[in-house]
Amino acid sequence: MLQLKCPWCGPRDETEYHYGGQAHVPYPEDPSALTDQEWAQYLFFRDNPKGPFAERWSHTIGCRRWFNVIRDTRTYEVLAVYTATDPRPDVASGGQA
């Protein structure tokens, strides 16, 4: 069982959260200017790194807030937890998510 530390509620079990996929995927500046291929890339294609990965989580059972987690996909180690308004922290083990 993964335990995540919600920025507002503290450590809670994974069952209280909902997973939201990759973080920091910006909405296109001008969606109508995109080709079908670029739009499909934005909608459906996500990174799948082996190592640190920034992802979104929502504390659905608790405060219902969204926040970001950097998790190592090899070890499930949680490297950082930060809110959506915080800048993405540099995690020690580095690597591009």
Partner: protein
């Protein structure tokens, strides 16, 4: 050994407990206006319960609170609405939203620990703390009044399930009491 654990529909539930939801920016004039009416600060931290007179305020999120009150629902909601009339805020009557159970007795924590992922030990969960979590896999608001009294607030539609789960969970602590009262 007086360790009889009793479950009862809260006496607060009949008549229904007055509950109101509040959403407002905690740094806004609306929040300060509410605090003026309440006579106490809105809790700013997970778990904290503040109270003044008939009203208790439970923290649900950084900008969301639940008022649980012995006052009449209409006057509670009217007072809160009057305080936020010019503010960007929402006050909603949630009295029928949740059922209120009280679990009392020295074994109350042992009963809840069978189905609650939060650490209920007093070194972690202080008296007069309310947290949103799950009990028997359904979402509840768990309000620890003290070590021998917990209030459990599931959504009303989950109330029969939570009640039967609690009766089953506490059976071992009161095997002589089969009356189901």
């Amino acid at each position: 050994m007086a360790d009889l654990t009793l479950l009862r529909r809260s006496p607060l539930e009949t008549p229904f407990v007055s509950m109101a939801g509040l959403r407002v920016d905690p740094d806004s004039d609306g929040a300060r206006s509410i605090e003026g009416v309440l006579g106490a600060a809105l809790p700013r931290q997970c778990g904290v319960v503040t109270r003044n007179g008939a009203h208790s305020v439970l923290w649900l999120g950084p900008d969301e609170w639940l008022f649980v009150s012995e006052a009449e629902t209409r006057s509670l909601v009217a007072d809160l609405r009057a305080a936020t009339v010019d503010a960007h805020a929402a006050v909603v009557d949630l009295s029928a939203n949740r059922a209120v159970f009280e679990l009392a007795g020295v074994n109350a924590r042992k009963v809840l620990e069978k189905g609650c992922p939060v650490d209920l030990h007093p070194r972690v969960l202080a008296d007069d703390t309310a947290v949103s979590t799950t009990l028997a896999r359904v979402p509840v608001l768990l309000w620890k009044v003290d070590e021998t009294l917990f209030r459990i607030l599931p959504r009303s539609s989950f109330a029969p399930y939570v009640e039967s789960w609690l009766r089953d969970a506490m059976e071992e602590f009161a095997p002589w009491d089969q009356s189901g009262s």
